[in-house]
Amino acid sequence: MLALETRGLTVGYGKANVLHGIDVAVGEGAIVSLIGPNGAGKTTMLMALMGLLKSGGEVRYFGEIIRNVDVEDRVARGLCLVPERRELFGDMTVGDNLALGRFSGWLKGDRDFKATLDDVFQRFPRLLERLSKNASTLSGGERQMLALGRALMSRPKVLMLDEPSLGLAPLMVREIFRIIADLRKTGVSILLIEQNARAALEIADYGYVLENGAITLEGPAQELAGNPRIVDTYLGRRQSAAE
């Protein structure tokens, strides 16, 4: 079954349409990467899928149309967005940020999250070291780890990641992609938006190219990575040690 599927998804700000009829599918347990230039509408698309923006067309979540499901409910059902700017609660500790990731479950009376927390610390030992530090004092890489960790606290079924490698050092970029690829084992489905197209296609099963608000190319990730137009525009011909 498809975890997430859009048919003819449109989003507009005022009169201008930003997305013109997008068809995207994320299979259960798959990693799907969406690449494209800045301003193509990638972030807009994630916001719409999360229910933060009004959209037209059809969005299906595990087969069910979720048009009238509000954001809180989408979170409760296991849809989770890690936004581009991380959007941590800077004046709260790392521990409190993680606990808030569980807020939706806590509301439903599920107050025991020790096991989930241990799992997050196992993935991100660094967060355990910084547990009582304010989130605003973390470095760029640690922030991204906390954003991912906080998302995992909600035990998501579908994780949407908006440029997780933005602004990170090469070593940290690789670490973040390793962690994302590793999440595959947990069965979570991932929709990944990235500028770092090479790494994004490398860990993905399937890829889409979003340009000017429309899907211009799609295919199995390895195939896309070999497409000459993708190479020229997004990847570059040289393979580099850094990436």
Binding site: L166, L168, P170, G236
Partner: protein
């Protein structure tokens, strides 16, 4: 501004007294008086981002000064106008010094403070008649004619209002106006480009206090009676409403807002009792609702919102610049390539107990591109901030082109020839591309508010705009002057930022992650541009994580980790340095993330 609109407005005013019934002439006079004050708010709040809830107090100072002097000392109103301006200017200087340092919403709250106090000053001074005020203020006379009639005053008030409008429009479209619109202290960008934000804030604060004072002077001689009531907090808030309703970003909005508010209030005061049979201040309630509705549905105010309904200009254009040829600006001599341009000696910065930068030393030679790399949190951005004087250093020495930069602030460092760009392209969203770049040339011009208001700086302005055009062409954006800067994709915004930095005629350019978020194609174009700049003799220091980009472009690399320099050398030396690989690059055989995943 369109000259045609001004001519139409002037023509309407000329025939106004023949068309309007006398009651509306008086109403129009009130609109004119308020417009003069609200025009000040357009400059102060709409453009400068400094909202004041105290303008009525300045109107009061102007009105009371002329009332008192012309009654007690029989002084000619034309003389007391200037005394009033002087008193208001002095008061604004004092109040500005006290409140303009406040940021965010503390500033409007601060203005509320003195707005309330000045009201009680009027109401408690015996010589000013306490709550009763002063009456029998002499009428204005000019060349033997009495300007006592409502019609004569109509012309006087509206001539002043139109002059104020023209001055505001002229100011906004000038070097000084760009500095006003630069975002001031809300962004590190303005000071980094050499804008003296404190001085700009104070200048516009005084100017709009003076406009209010002139309005008060006109009011006193029009009404021939003053008391404290119209100069209190309530009126200040009404001026604020007018600015919000009309659109605080548009000079015409000030007049439309004042007209809408005053005439609307008058209608409501007659209509509500007529329909409901109740007498009371229901008009105030309705206006409160109108303001809320406008904030919801036309946040920019009436004039900018209505302008959006007009046929849209193509391609997100916000301006129509005609840049002629002008005498080029004077520029600095480039240093001899290979000489030491920037010398950093044992630089240290501590935040509390944390050493963000710990004893880092390196030199940059003229004509080279140097990269500063290292893990997130290694202290690279702190290093940038130390070099550019944004934050003071704890210890160490820094010198540039043979002169010490120790103890200099952001603006002074910039004036010595070091200009930077920011990690998130800090462009002014509502200014055109050309204006954004012209802001970079701020320190290469001199003209201020008065020259701008009187259009005495057109020659200099032409030179500044020609420079901006030249730099935009240099980065390959010669065809997009008129677009709103934020309507362009990130790759182009980065280029605009570089053009803006170049417009300041720097000897050293600091770029903070110029390639972040760019796609491959755009990175290639950027690298080519930076390479060309080096060929032309520019020196560059950049922080960047994209190693493909860095290693193929730069001459030398400095690597930082945990606040310390761990390596320095040519790109190929750095790429094989074990320390750097461990701390930052990672080893080559770990290249694929998948190898870790399975």
């Amino acid at each position: 501004m369109s000259v045609r609109a001004l001519i139409v407005a002037a023509a309407l005013l000329l025939i106004g007294p023949w068309l309007l019934p006398p009651f509306y002439i008086t109403l129009a006079n009130y609109v004119g008086l308020a417009s003069i004050v609200v025009l000040g708010l357009v400059l102060l709040g709409g453009a400068g981002g400094l909202m004041s809830f105290g303008q009525a107090a300045f109107v009061g100072i102007g009105a009371y000064t002329t009332a008192y002097l012309s009654i007690a000392y029989n002084l000619s109103p034309w003389l007391s106008l200037f005394v009033g301006l002087a008193v208001t200017g002095g008061a604004a200087l004092l109040l500005g010094a006290l409140t303009l340092r406040l940021t965010g919403h503390y500033l409007p709250i601060g203005t509320l403070g003195w707005s309330v106090s000045i009201y009680y000053v009027f109401a408690n001074i015996e010589a000013l008649g306490k709550h009763d005020g002063l009456s029998d203020i002499p009428p204005l006379t000019a060349f033997g004619f009495s300007l006592q009639s409502s019609n004569a005053f109509f012309y006087l008030i509206w001539i002043v209002a139109l002059l104020a409008l023209v001055s505001i429009n002229n100011i906004l479209d000038s070097r000084f106006g760009r500095a006003v619109r630069s975002g001031g202290r809300t962004t590190p960008m303005a000071e980094a480009l050499g804008v003296n934000t404190a001085r700009v804030s104070m200048t516009i604060f005084i100017y709009c206090a003076l406009l209010a004072s002139v309005s008060g002077w006109l009011y006193a001689h029009f009404m021939r009676f003053v008391n404290p009531t119209p100069f209190g907090l309530g009126t200040s808030i009404e001026y604020f409403f007018m600015a919000v309703i009309g659109g605080a970003t548009s000079a015409w909005g000030a007049i439309v807002g004042a007209g809408f508010y005053i005439i609307g209030k008058q209608w409501l005061q007659t209509l509500i009792p007529a329909f409901t049979g109740r007498v009371g201040q229901y008009d105030v309630i309705v206006f409160g609702l109108i303001v809320i509705a406008i904030l919801h549905y036309a946040r920019q105010g009436l004039v900018p919102s209505l302008a959006l309904l007009l046929p849209r200009k193509a391609g997100g254009r916000v301006a129509h610049h005609v840049v002629g040829s002008a005498e080029p600006l004077a520029h600095r001599d480039k240093p001899q390539p290979g000489t030491k341009l920037l010398q950093i000696d044992r630089m240290e910065k501590r935040f509390g107990g944390l050493a963000a930068v710990n004893g880092v030393s390196f030199d940059i030679q003229a004509g080279e591109i140097m990269a500063l790399i290292g893990p997130n949190g290694a202290g690279k951005t702190t290093m940038f901030n130390l070099i550019t004087g944004v934050i003071p250093k704890t210890a160490g020495r820094i010198s540039f082109a043979g002169h010490s930069l120790d103890g200099l602030g952001s603006r002074q460092v910039m004036e010595r020839g070091i200009t930077r760009t920011f990690q998130h392209a800090l462009l002014r969203p509502h200014m055109s591309v050309l204006e954004n770049v012209a802001l970079g040339a701020h320190t290469r011009g001199r003209s201020g508010l008065i020259a701008a208001a009187l259009r005495l700086e057109r020659k200099e302005e032409a030179r500044l705009l020609a420079e901006a055009k030249k730099q935009l062409e240099r980065v390959g954006l010669g065809d997009q002057f008129d677009a709103a800067a934020d309507s362009l994709p990130l790759g182009k915004q980065r280029l605009i930022e570089i053009a803006r930095a170049l417009a300041s005629d720097p000897l050293l350019l600091l770029l903070d992650e110029p390639a972040a978020g760019l796609r491959y194609e755009e990175k290639v174009a950027l690298a080519k541009l930076l390479d060309n700049l080096r060929t032309e003799g520019m020196t560059l220091l950049l922080v960047e994580h994209d190693m493909d980009f860095v290693m193929n472009l730069v001459d030398r690399v400095v690597v930082m980790d945990f606040g310390e320099k761990i390596a320095e050398g040519k790109p190929d030396e750095i790429q094989t340095n074990p320390k750097v690989i461990e701390a930052y690059l990672g080893s080559v055989d770990e290249c694929s993330p998948l190898k870790h995943a399975v």
